[in-house]
Symmetry: C2
Subunit: 160 residues, 2 copies
């Protein structure tokens, strides 16, 4: 084989290696995990959800300190499951995967439903989940979210 | 040159190519940008701060919808600068760069100071900034944050 041809082939392989296995496939893989995540929420599959996070994965929820690692992540999701009438759906808007396939940004929106004294309350909000490859699997490195609007103030008491 | 030696050298170059210019350097570059960001906050350099964001960069602040693009990002930061006694410091805790050097997660903490009716109020919180390479520069793709604790309720009125 001619040296130039060999060099071309090796460089093609090397460039392909940087991009494996394809950013589109990887983005779809992450969207598929989020579909499962939504199902696990419906099924109250606490162990399954905690398993989506890396061992050093961190939930950064409003009004609490960062919760890092399986114990604290279990505490956050267990607390959510205790909310009266808890329902939650998460919907990715943009999933961007690094060319090297080891890090991805996933940002989207959520709808959190709970039951309050005046009935069902829906909080609409937004999130960023950063995914990283752990072995062959995508795992959550960081998960942060907040609401699109301040909670409605309770109705004022009528003046005495 | 022996074919095996040539192959080894080419593969070494290829592997180095995947990682260029070095994740540690890139993480430091991002930390350096955040140092400048803190300076620009002190200097009220609105244009400089907005220039840190990608053209499709989005600020995801609590209690407002996602604000995407230079106009909306200007609106958010302009609003912050209007807060009485506004001070803000951001401190990265972990910066993780993709091997391909085109995407990075930066999570950290912030302290936001404002002046309220009862004097200075400090809100401590946490953030995730996702950085992406635009040409040769790191730019903010997404910027999301929330507080570690709910704002203190106003002191209750003494009973009549």
């Amino acid at each position: 084989m001619r040296p130039f041809l060999m060099l071309s082939m090796l460089l093609s392989l090397a460039v392909a290696g940087c991009n494996r296995p394809g950013a589109t496939d990887e983005a779809q893989a992450i969207r598929d995990i989020e579909t499962r995540w939504n199902q696990m929420i419906v099924e109250r599959d606490l162990k399954g959800i905690v398993g989506l996070y890396a061992d050093d994965g961190v939930v950064m929820a409003p009004n609490m300190p960062p919760m890092q690692g399986p114990g604290p992540v279990t505490q956050v999701w267990g607390g959510l499951f205790q909310l009266p009438g808890f329902k939650l759906t998460i919907t990715p808007v943009e999933v961007t995967v690094a060319r090297s396939g080891d890090l991805a940004m996933d940002r989207g929106v959520y709808a959190l439903t709970t039951t309050g004294p005046a009935g069902e309350v829906v909080e609409n909000g937004k999130y960023v989940v950063v995914w990283k490859k752990v072995g062959e699997e995508w795992k959550v490195a960081a998960d942060i979210f907040n609401a699109n609007a301040a909670p409605a103030a309770p109705a004022p008491e009528p003046a005495a």
